[in-house]
Amino acid sequence: MFLKKYISDVFGAVRSLLKGMRLTGYYFTHRKEIITQQYPDNKEEMKLPERFRGEVVMLHDEKNEHACTGCTACELACPNGTIKIITKFDMTPEGKKKKALDTFIYHLELCTMCNLCIEACPTDAIKMAQNFEHSVYDRSELTKKLNKPGSKIREGVE
């Protein structure tokens, strides 16, 4: 019984090691599998993976309208205080006061690209962009205002 386990252990070990070597051997002989991007050289034709996360942006349509209601769900979801939302009160045509977004402040220097704010957003107003060339000469340039000047909330978004 002991000997049977001993021998099956040896064979199992050899088989699993050979399985691993087969995979690395496959990679060694198949250069098309190489995923390295030669970054500064291929700036034009560089293709990033779909799920690559570079920074948070707010989507604006051609009428300079966004979908942000100023609900601060993203601000609450952010684990390290990257987002600060300043709200204001708009007057609706019926004369009622309505909460709306004034300024969406985004601290890129604090952001870890964890995607929690995008998942928290009920109206899909923000998303992750793929731009990753963020170097600037002054730290203050990394604090961004995401809603464009003069933009307002799209009709029908609650």
Binding site: G25, Y27, F28, E33, I34, I35, T36
Partner: protein, 358 residues
């Protein structure tokens, strides 16, 4: 015909016609020494580059590709950088031993080079106990490693060195038994005899399954002896920073690094000599036509090809397998490799006595 054998013989004849025999001996020793040192330097550069490229391709990367065409000068640049760095000796270190250790390691590596047959008739020293000499000298390198670990006055260095000691002492056994199983077949310890006995086929094929088993065990054991992954506990970057050479910098570090790669080359050369026929071309039984075609390939190319193939296999191990824990490492040796290789040696002896091998 131009071959290394003819070149060495004509140099020898020319020197003998010009000078007194004692002078000839001195000059020839000097030439051999220079050749060995330059071989070391070239091997270091080539093997480090090969390791980086192989590892890159196995990890779906590109590897060094900026310095020189295709990154071929990367290791030259690295060596220049290391040569220009300061060789720092820590304050609390035992200065004499600390500075001696890298030289001990590299000199041991140089000593094992002596009985290796590089091509037909090209061998520094064909002594009649070649294989025994190799296994005796190769176990000396642990002294250099222990010296480095102890003299560094650093707990990581000492731990790495102690692990290395335990490892080399245990794996010497199964490496030695694997070597003996080939010695049983050939009946000689001399390297030239072992190569000559493989004229009509390599031992790996002639010795049936026991030869294959002892070849596998030998490769595993020498991987452990050279402190390569998956047995690189002595260095274990994740636990011991760099093990016994944590405190070394500059050229002294480069010597350790060089010794590691030269040791790999040497153990692969020995494995090629014992199991794959050294410089002997691939001969299959009585196929004279096929054998003659194989004879046209120079013997040095055969030797280098086999050695570099084995080096590639050992690199393949390194970039595939995860590192073993110290208890797993010793389990593998004492519970698996040693019993298996002992039974294997008995089988091999039976084969040799009964003459079942081809």
């Amino acid at each position: 015909m131009l071959s290394i054998e003819n070149i060495t013989h004509s140099i020898d004849a020319w020197l003998n016609s010009m000078f007194h025999p004692t002078v000839v001996l001195l000059v020839e020793s000097l030439i051999v020494g220079i050749c060995a040192i330059s071989l070391f330097a070239v091997l270091g550069l080539v093997l480090v580059l090969m390791e980086r490229k192989v590892s890159a391709y196995m990890q779906i990367r590109l590897g060094p590709n900026r310095v020189g065409p295709g990154g071929t000068l990367q290791t030259v640049a690295d060596t220049l950088k290391l040569a220009m760095k300061e060789g720092l000796t820590p304050d609390g270190a035992d200065k004499f031993l600390f500075n001696l250790a890298p030289f001990v390691v590299i000199i041991v590596a140089m000593l094992i080079l002596a009985p290796v047959a590089f091509a037909k008739g090209t061998q520094i020293w064909d002594l009649n106990i070649g294989v025994l000499y190799i296994s005796a000298v190769s176990s000396l390198s642990v002294i250099g490693i222990l010296m480095a670990g102890w003299a560094s006055n650093n707990k990581y260095s000492l731990l790495g060195a102690m692990r290395s000691g335990a490892q080399i002492v245990s794996y010497e056994l199964s490496a030695g038994i694997s070597v003996i199983s080939i010695v049983v077949l050939t009946g000689s310890l001399r390297i030239q005899d072992i190569i000559a006995s493989q004229q009509d086929g390599w031992w790996l094929f002639k010795g049936h399954i026991p030869a294959l088993l002892s070849f596998v065990i030998f490769i595993i054991a020498v991987t452990a002896e050279t402190n390569r992954a998956p047995f690189d506990l002595a260095e274990a970057e994740s636990e011991l920073t760099a093990g016994f050479h944590t405190e070394y910098s500059g050229m002294k570090f480069a010597l350790f690094f060089l010794a590691e790669y030269v040791n790999i080359f040497i153990v692969c050369a020995i494995a090629a000599t014992l199991y794959l026929g050294g410089w002997m071309p691939l001969h299959i039984g009585h196929w004279t036509g096929f054998n003659q075609v194989m004879d046209y390939i120079p013997s040095s190319l055969w030797f280098m090809g086999k050695t570099f193939f084995l080096i590639f296999v050992i690199m393949w191990f390194r970039w595939t397998f995860p590192r073993l824990r110290i208890d797993q490492l010793l389990n593998l040796e004492w519970k698996y490799l040693l019993p298996i290789s002992m039974v294997n040696l008995l089988l091999m002896t039976l084969i040799a006595i009964e003459g079942w091998h081809f």
